[in-house]
């Protein structure tokens, strides 16, 4: 079951300490019994601005921390780069805001959305995202809008298919804009597209 932790969006800044704070607090959320000990360590770390010590705190835990909880146990969050952590934080914040908005209006199968969002978030976190917006669309699809430097915007839509058929599960519809002008749109394999798009956007 995906787990979303309530961290105010004001904490989602780009500084290293802030990101570590997010990670540590997430970790602590899972280990409330160890809360005080970790918090003291964290405060100590924060005071001394020892970023590496912050990472060590995470490594000391026997639990594999993930940005969104245990949706991917193989994914060691502390192995992620700063950029990846930042992208995940940006995406998660948008997703949480959207969940909150939609839940006020209708009953939502949030497990299903969580699962698909987690899948997308994991792949998209490799991209240097500046900002994002998530939309949960009633026809069982998730739309993620990502903004990058130089007025580049990527809109991705993932349909939530039943049965997880391999072909459908990996398919995604995308539209890519520069200065709001459509450059490309297609239905394609999500993993391949993300990999290729990362190469494009980082070069």
């Amino acid at each position: 079951m995906p787990m979303l932790i309530n961290i105010p969006s004001t904490q989602f800044t780009t500084g290293s300490m802030d990101r570590i704070e997010v990670l540590v607090k997430r970790n602590l959320h899972d280990h409330t019994t160890m809360h005080n000990e970790y918090l003291a360590e964290y405060e100590n770390c924060k005071e001394k601005s020892k970023v590496s010590r912050g990472m060590e705190i995470l490594k000391e835990s026997d639990h594999q921390v993930t940005t969104l909880g245990d949706w991917d146990e193989q994914d060691n969050e502390f192995k992620l780069s700063d950029n990846e952590i930042n992208s995940r934080v940006v995406l998660t914040s948008s997703y949480k805001n959207e969940l909150k908005r939609v839940k006020k209006k209708q009953n939502l199968n949030s497990d299903k959305f969580n699962r698909y969002f987690s899948y997308m978030c994991k792949k998209l976190s490799s991209l240097p995202i500046q900002n994002s917006a998530v939309e949960l669309i009633s026809d069982d699809s998730i739309k993620i809008t990502l903004s990058f430097l130089d007025e580049k915007v990527l809109m991705l839509r993932k349909y939530m298919v039943d049965g997880d058929r391999e072909n459908n599960f990996n398919d995604i519809t995308y539209s890519f804009f520069i200065n709001r002008k459509l450059i490309s749109a297609d239905v394609t394999n999500f993993e391949t597209f993300t990999k290729n798009f990362k190469e494009y956007i980082t070069n």
Binding site: S94, N97, R101, N131, S132, A133, V134, E135, I137, S138, D139, K143, T145, S147, V153, M155, R157, T173, S175, F177, R180, K181, L182, A185, D186, V187
Partner: protein, 253 residues
Amino acid sequence: MLQTLKLLPRILRNTLRINFLKFSGRLIFPLEILPKRNYKPVINISLLLENQSVFILRRSNSSFSDTFNELGYLRESALIPKEIPNLSLNLLGGKFKPKDACFRIINNGQKKWINNEPIFLCEYLKDFKKLDETCNIYLNANGIHRQQVPYTVPTNPHFKKEVDKFFEYVSKPIIEDDKFLLQGETNIQHDPTKLNYWHVEFNLIDFKGVALKYNNSTSIKDFCVKVLKDIICANSYNYLADPKPIPKKFYIK
């Protein structure tokens, strides 16, 4: 002259009724947006967009947060699937002002204005409604007009014949998974209605130049509608700087 004489009773009745409503403070509809007989039947949108930037307005009946996402782009859910193609919009920069978007035109008021037909508002007083809470969506017309959109159509025998005929002298379309991969184009067309001269429609033109209709066809519904939505969302704004006025030569005869 003869035509004016024929219309005289209607002109008089309209003048009396509208003036009465105006002076009693009960005239709420903006008279400025009505078609006038000295207006051109249709504004050439492509020519207009070649000359200047133009914004168009779409009314949303949802709240601001349900209309725009965190990045300030239009939410896809603020558009109803059946509205695309044939998305109804209002041209700004002429007589239509953002405050006029709170009027929903219904019944006969929605019918197409043709043949310079004189419009007397007193005959349409039941053909509009004033909405209490609306949210205005501003779209950059230059960004959504004439955009290439790929779409697919299953290669059934009848359609294959049609496509083969069309592409006899031009390059053949790509066939993927038994579907023709074709190029369509977005199009904004002036579509004046009896109660709103500034009404325009957003459509997708197929490979032959004909407007695609929403007919539950998966080829239209599935992909090109999504791309159309993305184009609209990417060119949406939740605010409007002063729109550039449309020169009179584009709409006055």
